[in-house]
Symmetry: C2
Subunit: 249 residues, 2 copies
DNA sequence: TCGCAAGCTTGACGCAGATCAACGATCCGA
DNA sequence: TCGGATCGTTGATCTGCGTCAAGCTTGCGA
């Protein structure tokens, strides 16, 4: 809901100064651009507001657009023919959507909450990249980080137990919050248990059971269904299968 | 063994014309460079020959080098403190090693077979990238493809059964062979069963059992321990959980 | 050429997490 | 404010794959 308001504010103000007032700019690749670059970028972009459940990208469709999430959150996933789903990532403000893209989207993306995004035509964006090496470098950097995160997720999916998976997930969210300037102690979970399960390669039931176990052990405390506080960060990191308590990825 | 000879040949000839005679050039990012760019690239590179089991990169070490594999094959993996291993990829000639890298390596890399690689200092390579936007674009392209492959692997690790995993793996190897100009019918497996297991999130025993099952069903035929032929490609694709029989990723 | 270590296969059994089922909590629209 | 739908939790049971174990095959070094 605050996301929606932010999105609206950003969009309205956007008419006047699309990037200058963007609350996600310092988190995104745009941050490497100077005023001139920003102006050119905003000239080829298109601000899109989305509501809960809205589909941004559908697997198999021609990959015409790229997105920069400016508010809200998004789930990115792949499906098997029989409906089994693997969520490959959750996106938050500042995240880029469309990097891993050939001619057609190899994933679907849906809004988890209301929010907004800067949308670019892939072709136009490519031309822009060629003219702005800084932006291209920043994007390569992003891609590298995402690849690293993907490797961590492979380790999680291939080799970790249910407890380790959930602990890793929570530790990651905490680390993300810290990176965004928060205390990394209270975590928002905009997604459902089923989505967490599909991200961690588990079932809803297992996610629920393991959450309970962590709660009972006093490692976490549920504030509501969609927010919790980490009571014992060190223990959480340990459970996540990290040696030290950095919680980063 | 042919890999070793190729590597030696490449290295020896390399003294005279490092890139011109490189058998992996057309497969690698270098292919986008013109003569001038190639010359500059070879000036900052260093040819490294490696033997079976040799460690190229160790997780946690300062990330000083980047590699372009020119011959042989490499396994890239991550470890948990207790020794559980997840192989995040196998590299072959033309593949780039070191994309997903921050200040320190987040993975280890070991030679699966003897081979060779062009080695660059990360710092120097970065400078080179800034001067060669084409190379940077090519690398971004690589990163995108790798990210896409990583997403596929997440789907595999999170949601596929043992049979689907092995079938996907074999279909991928076949597709890779086809891309490299081969018939995609006979597959080389330079890795052990344990390595396949650690790549697919299974155990050696399961890999062995599932291989037997595919053999019994007549889908594959073992030519030796480390090479097999695909007898029923369509059925393999089906088992892999792909709708159509493209076998690509 | 032999011998042994490493890798592979196959079988018996166990268990972590899936599945099936029932019920409670939460949210949202009227 | 209410009512139904969706989401979440918990319990009982099942099962695919892991674990343990034993024998076989391969390849390499002496």
């Amino acid at each position: 809901m605050t996301a929606k308001i932010e999105a609206l504010a950003c969009a309205v103000d956007g008419r006047l100064d699309p990037c200058g007032l963007c609350t996600a700019r310092h988190l995104s690749v745009c941050s490497v651009l100077a005023d001139d670059g920003l102006r050119r970028l905003s000239a080829i972009s298109d601000h899109q507001i989305f509501t809960t459940g809205e589909i941004l990208v559908r697997e198999g469709d021609p990959a015409t657009n790229l997105f920069n999430i400016t508010a809200g959150s998004v789930r990115v996933y792949k499906l098997l023919p029989d409906g089994r789903r693997q969520i490959v990532g959750f996106l938050f403000p500042g995240d880029f959507l469309g990097l891993a893209t050939g001619d057609r989207y190899a994933f679907s993306a849906e809004a988890l909450t209301g929010g907004s995004a800067c949308r670019f035509l892939k072709k136009t964006y490519r031309r822009m990249l060629a003219e702005q090496p800084d932006l291209e470098a920043a994007l390569l950097d992003r891609a590298s980080h995402e690849l690293q995160a993907a490797h961590n997720q492979m380790l999680l999916l291939g080799r970790k137990t249910a407890v380790e998976r959930l602990a890793s997930f929570l530790a990651d969210l905490a680390a993300r919050d810290r990176r965004a300037g928060g205390p990394g102690r209270v975590i928002q979970l905009p997604m459902t248990r089923a989505e967490i399960a599909d991200y961690l390669g588990l079932t809803t039931e297992t996610v629920s059971r393991v959450t309970s176990r962590l709660k009972t052990r006093g490692v976490i405390r549920l504030l509501s269904l969609h927010s919790l506080s980490i009571e014992k960060p060190a223990e959480l990191s340990e459970l996540a299968g990290l040696d030290a308590g950095d919680g980063d990825a």
